[in-house]
């Protein structure tokens, strides 16, 4: 398992590549200029005739300055272009996604596998009501889509959210008090939960992501912020 999702690593590798090129240019240039054009004997060779109170003669070259305005600009345009593609990936609504409620509280997470269960909006679908409970949700074919149990993390009992690989999920995020943010470590996703705003995240865990990973709170929320954890398991 590796922290960060597919889009993260795709962009990360490209950005690293260009970052390395820029860095090498700067460092080589820095060392070359600072060693090649140093004062060999340490004495003060006043090349541009600096005199206190006299604005020195000009030192510029419009072509060079334009070069390092335009070339970085092109690189920026390219990087923006490739980063543009997945910009809304995690917020793009999938109407067929299984909805899971995540509610932040000081300082624990609440999960709800079947947010429609007790509401009037619950569709009169073929899903038998006995297949629904807030801690478990089966789809029409009787396949377990979502389950909530508990797990021990460093001696504390924490919630364990189990979701199925290759199924699309929509997480509806709320908070009962201050702002929190669940961080799906393995998927590289996070989004704030607010008290009076409903935020959402959409994700389809892949078969490569089967296994359990820690979910942490990544918006500072007070005393036990660092221990506000849960575990997310993706099963086959």
């Amino acid at each position: 398992m590796e922290a960060g999702g597919e889009h993260f690593w795709y962009l990360f590798d490209i950005f690293n590549f260009w970052a390395l090129i820029v860095l090498v240019i700067v460092v080589v240039w820095l060392f070359y200029n600072s060693l090649r054009f140093r004062s060999k004997d340490g004495s003060d060779n006043n090349i541009d005739n600096f005199t206190p109170g006299v604005f020195p003669k000009e030192n510029d070259d419009l072509r060079m300055e334009l070069t390092w305005t335009i070339v970085p600009f092109i690189l920026i345009v390219y990087l923006t272009y490739i980063a543009w593609g997945p910009i809304d990936e995690m917020w793009t609504a999938d109407p067929d996604a299984h909805e899971i409620n995540i509610t932040g509280n000081q300082w624990y997470w609440d999960f709800d596998c079947d947010p429609l269960r007790d509401t009037e909006d619950a569709p009169e679908s073929s899903v038998a009501m006995e297949n629904r409970s807030s801690t478990m949700f089966y789809n029409d074919n009787g396949i377990l889509i979502c389950e909530i149990t508990t797990i021990e993390v460093e001696g504390q009992i924490k919630p364990l959210l189990r979701v199925k690989a290759d199924e699309s999920y929509g997480f509806i995020l709320r908070s009962n008090d201050v702002t929190h943010a669940p961080f799906f470590l393995d998927w590289g996703l996070k989004e704030d939960t607010s008290q009076n705003v409903e935020t959402r995240l959409y994700y389809t865990p892949s078969m490569d992501e089967i296994g359990s990973s820690l979910l942490m709170c990544t918006e500072y929320c007070g005393m036990d912020h660092g221990y506000m954890t849960a575990v997310v398991e993706v099963y086959e």
């Binding site: 993260f8 962009l11 970052a19 460092v27 240039w29 200029n33 600072s34 054009f37 140093r38 004062s39 003060d44 006043n46 090349i47 541009d48 600096f50 206190p52 109170g53 006299v54 020195p56 003669k57 000009e58 510029d60 070259d61 060079m64 300055e65 390092w68 305005t69 970085p72 920026i76 923006t80 980063a83 543009w84 910009i87 990936e89 995690m90 797990i151 993390v153 008090d177 201050v178 702002t179 943010a181 470590l185 996703l189 996070k190 704030d192 607010s194 008290q195 009076n196 359990s212 990973s213 820690l214 942490m216 709170c217 990544t218 007070g222 005393m223 912020h225 660092g226 221990y227 575990v231």
Partner: protein
């Protein structure tokens, strides 16, 4: 000062203050906060413990047997009650706490409290209801299965008038069995370290004074020297005060960091409690940005700007002193919470609604009040610098002839002006929410927590540029002078500064990609954040090209400037990872962010300012700094700095969240951080101590060189700008007002006539020929 003390009005004010201090209610301060009656006693029987009442606790064993039950006899002597007293309500009562084991009452003279402690009851038949009707009680104590216990016993002796007047109480503590090893709390460590720093700072001040003239070291001479400093409106002295203030809090902020780095050295550590940890990282951020970086920038600006643009002083010297003296006042407010154990614990960003929730510490209110003072201070000093730039440039100095440090301060001041009102408004709203019950940010009452994030980051991101642009200015001066070359592309440098200043205002949304804000803002700020790399890149390449064809002289300030180029480039590059939303979603609130902004703040700002210290120290003190010690400082500082912050990139990518009391290593049950994360954290902690120590070298160098360094000439490095015209240290007024220097030119400049911008400013100003009076 002595003269003014003879003034009857001053004496009257002092007398009123003394009286107020004397009659103010006495307060006790505990490093962990007053944890209720256990520390402070019951005020129903007097404010503080009295030695007249002697409690006694009998029946504790010498050798503790695990799990055994002991009968304890509690009694007391002394105080207003006496054994033969026939008034049953004029005897006494008790309260007994134990740290381990269980206390059980034997009869109904004793009751158990909800916290497990036991106290007297009022059940005796002759009792009038007050319950203080006994002098002897019995309880049973069941020892814990392992370890010893600590008892705290309070007994009170009452005089029977059923009021608290005349009653007394006494305290007894007793230990039984093996005691846990005493461990200082994080707050105690911090308080001791800060106290030590205050003593050292004051010692340094006294030493500097002593060394000036060892034969005449006397209070009568010290006080006028010192009071001249603290009452001065001279830009140089205020600048020195700003620098001392900034360096002191740089040290304090560093101490915070060291203490919480100890906590993070290994996973699951409990060196600090969560409460302490949260306060410490909050105070670290607030201290470093508002009490260290900003004052140091202001210190440089105070010292250098008037000298550099050929002015006698700043335009508004008294406002300048006011702006400085708001800083220590704000610092006191900001820190006042932490020593009561209730310091601000919101993070320096103070996100709503946590900042207004009742789970946040009460110290947040004072922390907010202190920051409002700092907003006022920054605004006042900003007005001052703007006025100085507009009206007091030397004859012949057009806008496009100002040295780049002055330009950077001008742009920084403009940015501060446009951004800081938003922060001030937000702070005032928070203060009102916390004090008089408004609901700007109270989500349950319809307030909008995101509003705070918008206001804060609308200020917070430009604030980064406000502190980093002056560092850019310093680097421009240092590199140009050291390379003996005119700065490459002076105009594009100015335009790049202005470009950063403009674009820097519309990038702040990248702090909020995951906050649920408008997708439009998400998209726009992604573009602008990417774009801000272009002017920053221009500056870096111009600096590199400045050295071309030059004759670089290696001195300590040159080394720091070259080090800045490397580390700031790294910090700039890592900043490019955040506008890419898909990457930010993973990196947000992780150590990658911490690594990035420390590369900018330390590798950019602090390195730039260190370079500036070595560069202008001879001008300010008239003494050269020791180059050997300086190089030692650079080598140790540069290496240990990179060891601290480079591994944080890796930890962030691995998903270690910031602002967390601990971190979790992968187990068989779940995936979290890899095992190596613990090793990296340990290394960071060790390197952090080294980095802190390396900065002490700078302090030593400043003091020893300031006293014994070689005398500095007017222009030790061969710079061209006007601060090198005057003697070292500069006279007061800095440039002779009757004979201001005129800027000359090495070449004929086409733009010596005022351009469009210059004409607009001139048009706005009151013409001088009507004597400066308004029409």
């Amino acid at each position: 000062m002595f003269n003014s003390m003879k003034n009857p009005r001053t004496l009257a004010i002092l007398a009123i203050l003394l009286l107020a201090v004397a009659v103010a209610p006495s307060a006790q301060s505990y490093p962990t906060g007053i944890s209720g009656a256990q520390d402070a006693g019951c005020s129903c029987h007097g404010q503080t413990a009295s030695s007249e009442v002697v409690p006694s606790l009998e029946g504790l064993p010498d050798e503790l047997e695990a799990g055994a039950t002991y009968t304890l006899n509690i009694s007391f002597t002394g105080g207003p009650s006496f054994a033969e007293n026939t008034n049953p309500s004029a005897l006494g009562g008790f309260h007994l706490w134990v740290s381990a084991g269980i206390l059980t009452p034997v009869d109904d003279m004793v009751q158990t409290n909800s916290d497990g402690s036991v106290t007297h009851t009022g059940t005796d038949k002759a009792d009038s209801g007050q319950g203080n009707d006994q002098r002897l009680w019995q309880v049973e104590w069941t020892a814990p299965m392992d370890g010893g216990a600590k008892f705290i016993l309070h007994t009170n002796s009452v005089n029977g008038d059923e009021t608290s007047g005349g009653d007394l109480w006494g305290r007894l503590t007793a230990d039984v069995g093996p005691q846990p090893v005493e461990q200082a709390s994080g707050l105690t460590v911090l308080a001791s370290a800060i106290l030590l720093m205050v003593v050292i700072t004051l010692g340094c001040v006294a030493w500097v004074f002593y060394r000036q003239d060892p034969d005449a070291f006397a209070w009568e001479r010290f006080w006028p020297w010192f009071s001249d400093f603290i009452t001065s409106t001279d830009h140089k002295k205020v600048g020195t005060l700003y620098m001392v203030n900034g360096l002191f809090f740089l040290g304090v902020g560093g101490l915070f960091a060291l203490i919480f780095r100890v906590q993070l050295a290994s996973p699951g550590n409990d060196f600090l409690t969560q409460d302490e940890y949260n306060q410490f990282f909050t105070m670290h951020g607030t201290t470093m940005i508002f009490l260290a970086a900003m004052p140091m920038i202001a210190g440089f600006a105070n010292w250098i700007v008037p000298l550099q643009i050929g002015a006698q002083d700043l335009a508004l010297p008294r406002l300048n002193a006011l702006a400085f003296w708001l800083n220590p006042a704000a610092a006191l407010l900001i820190f006042s919470g932490i020593f009561s154990g209730q310091g601000a614990d919101t993070g320096w960003t103070g996100y709503a609604p946590y900042v207004v929730s009742n789970t946040a510490h009460s110290g947040v209110t004072l922390w907010v009040a202190g920051q409002i003072l700092l907003v006022a201070s920054s605004t006042i000093s900003g007005i001052n610098f703007m006025t100085t730039f507009c009206t007091m440039r030397a004859p012949g100095m057009g806008w496009m002839h100002m040295p780049l440090f002055s330009w950077s301060m001008l742009i920084a001041t403009l940015m501060l002006f446009i951004s800081i009102p938003a922060f001030g408004i937000g702070l005032i709203q928070v203060l009102l929410d916390r004090t008089i019950g408004t609901v700007f940010y109270e989500a349950s009452a319809g307030g909008d927590p995101l509003l705070w994030s918008h206001l804060f980051w609308y200020f917070g991101h430009p604030e980064v540029y406000v502190v980093v642009l002056p560092a850019f200015g310093v680097i421009s001066e240092v590199l140009s002078t050291s390379a003996r070359r005119t700065i490459f592309g002076y105009k594009s440098m100015v335009f790049a500064l202005a470009g950063i200043g403009i674009v820097g205002f519309i990038v702040y949304g990248h702090h909020m990609f995951t906050s649920g804000m408008s997708p439009v803002l998400r998209f726009v700020t992604m573009l602008t954040t990417m774009l801000v790399a272009v002017p920053t890149g221009i500056k870096i390449f111009n600096w590199l090209q400045t050295m071309h064809g030059g004759s670089l002289v290696y001195r300590t300030h040159t080394l720091w400037a070259l080090g800045f180029l490397a580390t700031f480039t790294l910090g700039g590059i890592s900043g490019m990872y955040f506008p890419a939303v898909a990457m930010d979603i993973h990196l947000h609130e992780t150590y990658f962010v911490v690594a990035h902004f420390h590369y900018v703040f330390v590798g950019g700002i602090v390195f730039g300012l260190y370079s500036g210290i070595y560069y202008w120290f001879p001008k300010a003190t008239g003494r050269m700094m020791n180059e050997k010690i300086g190089i030692l400082h650079f080598m140790t500082g540069f290496i240990s700095y990179n060891l601290v912050f480079w591994p944080m990139h890796r930890l962030g990518i691995q998903g270690m969240p910031r602002r967390q009391h601990t971190y979790f290593i992968t187990t068989d049950e779940y995936f979290a951080l890899p095992a190596e994360a613990a090793d990296w954290n340990m290394m960071i902690t060790v390197a952090a101590f080294l980095f802190f120590a390396s900065n002490l070298i700078l302090v030593y160098n400043m003091i020893s060189s300031g006293l014994r360094g070689k005398k500095a000439p007017n222009d030790p490095w061969g710079g061209w700008s006007m601060e090198w015209l005057v003697s070292s240290p500069p006279p007061t007024p800095s440039h002779d007002p009757s004979n201001l220097p005129e800027l000359k030119f090495a070449e004929i400049h086409d733009d010596s006539e005022p351009g469009f911008f210059g004409r607009v400013i001139q048009w706005m100003m009151i013409p001088e020929d009507n004597g400066g009076e308004e029409e």
